[in-house]
Each structure stands twice: as structure tokens, then as C-alpha cells.
């Protein structure tokens, strides 16, 4: 327990590497920075998710009526595609995704108090048909509206993909379909907000003095660097460290995001691919002599993703074994380094300074 405490204190301290940067050389940011990030990254990522949610809804529709093995395979594949699409959207945790509880509605996680399983079970037991009508789910608890709930129904309780004969099947399958439709609706709303005609999309893509939200490329760059930095921190501090623990005995595989479907590592790797693509879309101009940062950020993100994809399945066994733990520790260190480069080198080189208190206030 003493060691546990020490680990916690150490982990807390690690988050505080204060990037108090003095800007040496600063590059002129492209005027179309926001447009690039929106056009080349955000809009396609959101569109992919909208399509994937609609595809899952349709796959479920057919399978619920006729639950055969081939259909179950199609539903599983469609879920996997949707979860991967979410990994690309998840990193855009600002603007439209934090409006109207969208992030929580799409992915209520981490769920330290087990709210989602409890509420989903109660909802399935109650078999309220009104809840399956279009739009009805949107008014309910965020925990029953999104991907974790969908995964729980498909792979957890009632483990729909395997338990087609259960008496609760029809309702649970209808509920899964309703969740898919809800995810599709939220994704469409996200797409509208990011669109060039949307209020957010317009300001982000065309920052100008009259705007309320973004008034310069500098402010857009600050948002992008913050997203990159917090995305890296989330991947390491929330998705790897609590799962890994400081020993095989302290590992907690069920703390992994999407552990029930066995997609944890592949989705986390997809988060890192997404962060890399989001970074690349910016096309950030670096001052002469500072080009190494570009290679480092790309290299660390690719390397961490590759490392995570090499973690052997299943995850609980990997967490107990030497090789699996070695790979996760390596990925964690790589992400830590990537975050340090973003905070201490890349952001300042783009004129984005992050203060000790401003970065991680309280």
C-alpha cells in the first residue's frame, strides 16, 4: 500500500513537468491553419463516424429480425469500425464535442462507479418500448446513450452476439439499434458544427478579430496544441497507467477502455494514429533548425502505436506477462516523451506558451 501511495504521488508529479518556455525563434503560422485542421482532419473524421454509426444501425436492424451467425459477424465488424472511427473523433475534445454533453453521451468513460452497467441492465429489464422510438434515448442518462453501452450489450451483458436465444434478446437488440441511431444523430450534429457553414466551423477555419471564439491563427494553434498535449496525456495517464499498475498483481485489465470487445489496444493505437494525422494536417511551419521536432512528434506517435499493436492478446494475459508489460511500459514512456516535445518544444516554437498555472490549474 505504501508503494501504491508512492506511485500515485509520483504519477501526480509527472503530470506537472512545467513547460515554462522561452520562445527563441517563432514561425509565422499559416493563415489557413484552422481551415486545414477542419478540412483535412476534423470533418473527414466526423463523417467517417457518422457513416459507421449508420452502417451499424442498419446491420443491427437486419440481424435483430434474423439473428444468424453471419449477421452476428457483420454486426461485430460494424461495431469495430464504429469504435475505430470514434478513436479519431475522441481526440477533438474541444468545441462541438464538449457542447451539449456530446462527449459523455458518446463515451461515458471512465466509469469509476459502474454507472453504465447498472443503468443498462435496469433499462433492459424494464423493457420500455417507448425508449426505442427515434430520439427517445437522447433524453435519458448519458451513460446509456453511447459506445460503452453498445459494447456492453454486444459483448458483456447480455453478450448479445452470442446469446441470441435469450428471452431478453429482442428488446436488447432493439436497444442496441437505438443506441447506434443515437450515436449517428450526435455524429451528424458534430458534423454540422464543424462544417464551414456551422458557427464553430466558420470561426475555427476563419479566425478573425470580430469572432467571439477564435480571433487569430495563434488562438487556433493554441487550441490544437492543447488538444495534442491533452490527447497524449489522456492516452498515457488514463488509458495505460491505471491498467498497467506497478506490478502484474496490480494490473487491472478491466480498467481498459473497451476491454469487453478486446479492442482496447487497437483503439488506443488508433487514438495515436489520429493524433498524428491531426498534427500532420496542421502543416506547421517550423523555424530553421527546429525541424527535428516534426520528425520526433511523428516518430514517437508512430512508434507508440506500433508498440501497442504488438501487445499480445488477450490483454489480461499480456498484463500478467513480461513481454506484454514491457511493451506497455515502452509505449507509456514514448508517449511521455512525445508530450514533453509538444509542451516544451513544439508549442513554444509556434508561439504557444503554456504557463505553470495556466497549463494545469486548480
Amino acid at each position: 500500500m505504501a508503494r501504491h501511495l508512492f506511485m500515485r504521488a509520483a504519477a501526480a508529479a509527472l503530470m506537472l513537468t512545467a513547460p515554462i518556455a522561452v520562445v527563441a525563434a517563432q514561425a509565422a503560422l499559416p493563415a489557413d491553419l484552422g481551415e486545414r485542421l477542419a478540412r483535412d482532419y476534423a470533418r473527414p473524421a466526423v463523417a467517417k463516424m457518422t457513416d459507421a454509426a449508420a452502417a451499424l444501425e442498419s446491420a443491427l436492424g437486419g440481424w435483430c429480425a434474423k439473428p444468424d451467425a453471419a449477421g452476428a459477424g457483420r454486426v461485430g465488424d460494424a461495431f469495430k469500425t464504429l469504435a475505430h472511427a470514434w478513436s479519431g473523433v475522441e481526440i477533438l475534445r474541444f468545441g462541438p464535442l464538449v457542447q451539449a454533453n456530446r462527449f459523455e453521451r458518446l463515451a461515458f468513460w471512465p466509469d469509476t462507479r459502474g454507472v453504465m452497467p447498472r443503468q443498462v441492465q435496469a433499462l433492459i429489464a424494464a423493457k420500455d418500448d417507448a425508449l426505442l422510438k427515434p430520439g427517445a434515448l437522447a433524453g435519458r442518462s448519458v451513460a446509456v446513450q453511447g459506445l460503452p453501452a453498445l459494447e456492453y450489450v454486444l459483448y458483456g451483458e447480455p453478450d448479445l452476439l452470442k446469446q441470441t436465444g435469450e428471452p431478453s434478446f429482442a428488446y436488447a437488440c432493439g436497444y442496441a439499434t437505438a443506441v447506434s441511431a443515437n450515436v449517428a444523430t450526435i455524429s451528424r450534429d458534430l458534423g454540422e458544427a464543424w462544417d464551414a457553414q456551422g458557427e464553430f466551423g466558420r470561426q475555427f477555419a476563419k479566425p478573425q478579430p470580430g469572432n467571439d471564439l477564435y480571433r487569430s491563427s495563434q488562438e487556433v494553434a493554441a487550441e490544437a496544441m492543447k488538444a495534442l498535449s491533452t490527447g497524449l496525456q489522456f492516452a498515457r495517464d488514463v488509458k495505460i497507467e491505471p491498467v498497467l499498475g506497478d506490478s502484474p498483481q496490480a494490473a487491472r485489465p478491466k480498467r481498459a477502455a473497451f476491454w469487453r470487445s478486446g479492442l482496447s489496444m487497437s483503439l488506443l493505437a488508433a487514438n495515436l494514429d489520429a493524433l498524428k494525422a491531426f498534427y500532420v494536417a496542421g502543416g506547421y511551419p517550423l523555424p530553421a533548425g527546429e525541424e527535428w521536432m516534426d520528425a520526433s512528434v511523428r516518430g514517437e506517435l508512430s512508434s507508440a502505436a506500433e508498440t501497442l499493436r504488438a501487445v499480445p492478446a488477450p490483454l489480461d494475459e499480456a498484463l500478467a506477462g513480461e513481454e506484454g508489460r514491457r511493451l506497455l511500459v515502452l509505449a507509456s514512456l514514448t508517449l511521455k516523451n512525445a508530450k514533453a516535445i509538444v509542451d516544451e518544444n513544439l508549442a513554444p516554437a509556434l508561439g504557444v506558451t503554456i504557463g505553470f498555472n495556466a497549463l494545469d490549474g486548480d
Binding site: A13, V98, Q99, P110, T112, D212, P242, G355, G361
Partner: protein, 369 residues
């Protein structure tokens, strides 16, 4: 509870710290003493300063600190680890070995506390993180009490942050920020959809919840976090908005017992520049001017405690710590190492220059005379 002490010492040893590194305070120059936390050359310290920014005493800490409970009559204080904080150290302003507080395994500190019952008891805001509820941990602060943990009160909400003792000396006012966190996930917000921040008044002797006030439902993501008392007894509070950046709610407010919460937004541009974030709240020596800092926006804003009118702004990059200056006005410190004095007319004078090796932390406290 001895184990907690051993634990801290083991922790301190592991980090190469030693309580004996603390220096005795020099004789005071007649001016007041100040307390703050900082990172200096990569090390976390609590520090006692004079009004010119000179060190009087440094206390090494095992991790980043946050704020202090101060017992001026006994010339002592307690520094709390920043949330999720797993240490708090009691120390004498005159020097000597700091005493760690025995924190139970299933609690962590939020970073604030207050002495009550004339210094016989210490109340600290804490997280019962498995239970998902806020508490005030109670510690025996009598001479020889060794800060033994003697119980806890319910804080009246989730995520209690700052707590202050009201002028009656009997009532605690707690800012329940409303944000559910679990130390396994650092400061990650786990309940943004259902946040319900509040101000709670709690009887310091019995723990009875005397009054609880909440914001309008539309402002349920406006986390009430920091508090200060004006001379007229009103509680001033500073908030951090957890909703979208496009929203621009007022972040500063006032409350009097039995009344509704009042919010003050100031000019639109000033509000925009606060970036939905207030890091600390302080009242000047005369108790008529309230200062609220926004390190994210790099500015400190002043308010008339009587009217709620915005009086002016001081820009200081990453400025967060604000304390009253004895001559009127304020001392302001920054995460970039700078410290300045601003007089009652808003005129600024440098106290310490920015420094790459020094980061002044969130809170800057005066030891009352």
C-alpha cells in the same frame, strides 16, 4: 496512524528531501509574512516570504503543493498537496520539523483547509473517492495532538475545494466544485453531465449542514472553487466553467447568508479574457476590494465588494497567486517566476523578475497580523 508518518518519511527520503532542510525564519522586518507554494529548480517547496519576496523559511514537499490553513495566533500553518493530494504538512512559521497529517488510504486532499475552534481543530477538504462524495477531514490541532484524525463531516456536495471560516468563528463555508474525480484518473472530470456545484455552510462543531445554495440549473457546469471574505462578511467566490468555451458565464460572485447567489460579469472583453477560469480570490487589507486571478487569461481583475462593479485589470502572464499588501493593493505572483505589487490606484511595481527556475504556485496567502 504512525504508518502514515513513516510513509511520508519514506516518500521524502525517496525524493531526496529532508525536513531538516527547512531553515528557521529570520526575525520579521515588522511587515507581515506570506505563504505560498512554488517549484524552484525542479523541486516542490512551501515557502514563508516577507513582503519583499524574500525567503524566510522553505519547507520541501514530496509533490506539488496548493494552499494553506493558517493559525496566526500560534504562528503555524498546514500546507496541503494539490489535488489529488496525498500529503499535508503542519509546520511552525518559526521553523522546525514539519509534521505530516495522517490521511486515510481512501481519502485524498483537495488542497485547502482551515483551523477552527480557536485552533483546536483543523478541517481539510477531502475526497471520499470510492464513495464519490466530498468530506471535511477533521484533525486534532491541539498542542500535542499531532494532527490525529478525529473524524469527518459531509461537505454537502461533490468535490469540495476551498473552505473558509466565517467571521462568527463557528461556521465553515465550503465551495463544493461539483466535479467528481478519482485519483486513478488524476483530475479528469467524471460527471460533467450531472455536476451540481454549491456553497455549503456547515456548523464547525456539529457538522450540521446549515445552508446550501446552488446556481441556476443552466449554470450547473460552473464549478465554484475559491473563496474569500469581504470586510462586510459577504463570501466572494471564483468559478471555473467546465462547459464549452463559446459560453461566457460570469465567473465571480458574492453570497450573503439567507440570500441568493449574485454573479458579476464585468465588461464583455474582460470576461472573455478570463477564459472561463478563475484561479484564486483574495480581498485587500481593508476588505473592500476583491481580486480574482485568471492564469489562463494572464490577468487579475478587481471588483468593488460593495457594488460588484469591475474596477480594473492587471495583466500578468500566468499570474495566479494574489495576496493583500499591507499598504493597500495586492501582491501578485506568476508561474513564470515574476512577482509584482499593485497599489490601490492600480500602479504596478516589480518585486521579483521572471525567472526560468521559479514557478510561483496557485495561492499566495498573508499571515494575518
Amino acid at each position: 496512524m504512525e504508518i502514515d508518518r513513516r510513509r511520508f518519511l519514506a516518500l521524502a527520503a525517496a525524493l531526496g528531501l529532508s525536513p531538516s532542510a527547512a531553515r528557521a525564519a529570520l526575525p520579521a522586518d515588522g511587515g507581515p509574512l506570506y505563504l505560498t507554494a512554488r517549484k524552484r529548480g525542479g523541486r516542490d517547496e512551501a515557502v514563508v516570504l516577507d513582503g519583499t519576496g524574500r525567503d524566510r523559511l522553505t519547507i520541501p514537499m514530496p509533490a506539488r503543493g496548493h494552499s494553506f490553513a493558517i493559525d496566526a495566533s500560534a504562528q503555524r500553518a498546514v500546507v496541503f498537496g494539490r489535488q489529488p493530494g496525498f500529503f499535508a504538512l503542519g509546520f511552525s512559521l518559526e521553523g522546525g520539523e514539519p509534521a505530516p497529517l495522517p490521511l486515510p488510504d481512501d481519502r485524498h486532499f483537495f488542497g485547502h483547509g482551515a483551523f477552527v475552534q480557536g485552533g483546536r481543530l483543523l478541517a481539510a477538504t477531502e475526497n471520499d473517492f470510492e464513495g464519490g462524495r466530498g468530506v471535511l477531514g477533521l484533525y486534532d490541532a491541539t498542542p500535542g495532538g499531532g494532527y490525529r484524525r478525529v473524524g469527518e463531516f459531509d461537505s454537502g456536495g461533490i468535490g469540495p475545494h476551498e473552505v473558509v471560516l466565517m467571521p462568527d468563528g463557528k461556521t465553515l463555508c465550503v465551495a463544493n466544485g461539483g466535479i467528481l474525480t478519482h485519483p486513478d484518473y488524476g483530475k479528469l472530470e467524471l460527471n460533467l453531465d450531472t455536476m451540481r456545484p454549491s456553497l455549503a455552510y456547515i456548523d464547525a462543531a456539529s457538522g450540521e449542514l446549515l445552508e446550501k445554495v446552488e446556481l441556476a440549473p443552466a449554470l450547473h457546469r460552473l464549478s465554484i472553487r475559491h473563496l474569500a471574505l469581504a470586510a462586510d462578511g459577504a463570501v466572494w467566490f471564483g468559478c471555473q466553467y467546465m462547459g464549452p468555451a463559446a459560453d461566457r458565464p460570469a465567473l465571480v460572485g458574492r453570497h450573503r447568508r439567507g440570500a441568493a447567489l449574485e454573479l458579476f460579469d464585468g465588461p464583455a472583453e474582460t470576461l472573455r479574457n478570463m477564459r472561463n477560469y478563475v484561479g484564486s480570490v483574495t480581498v485587500d487589507a481593508a476588505g473592500g476590494i476583491v481580486a480574482t486571478s485568471s492564469p489562463v487569461g494572464g490577468q487579475v481583475i478587481y471588483w468593488d465588494a460593495a457594488s460588484g462593479k469591475c474596477l480594473g485589470v492587471t495583466a500578468l502572464a500566468d499570474g495566479c497567486g494574489v495576496a493583500p499588501a499591507v499598504q493597500g493593493g495586492f501582491l501578485i505572483s506568476s508561474g513564470l517566476g515574476a512577482m509584482i505589487r499593485v497599489d490601490a490606484q492600480g500602479k504596478e511595481r516589480p518585486v521579483l523578475p521572471p525567472s526560468r527556475d521559479m514557478s510561483w504556485d496557485n495561492h499566495f496567502r498573508i499571515v494575518p497580523a
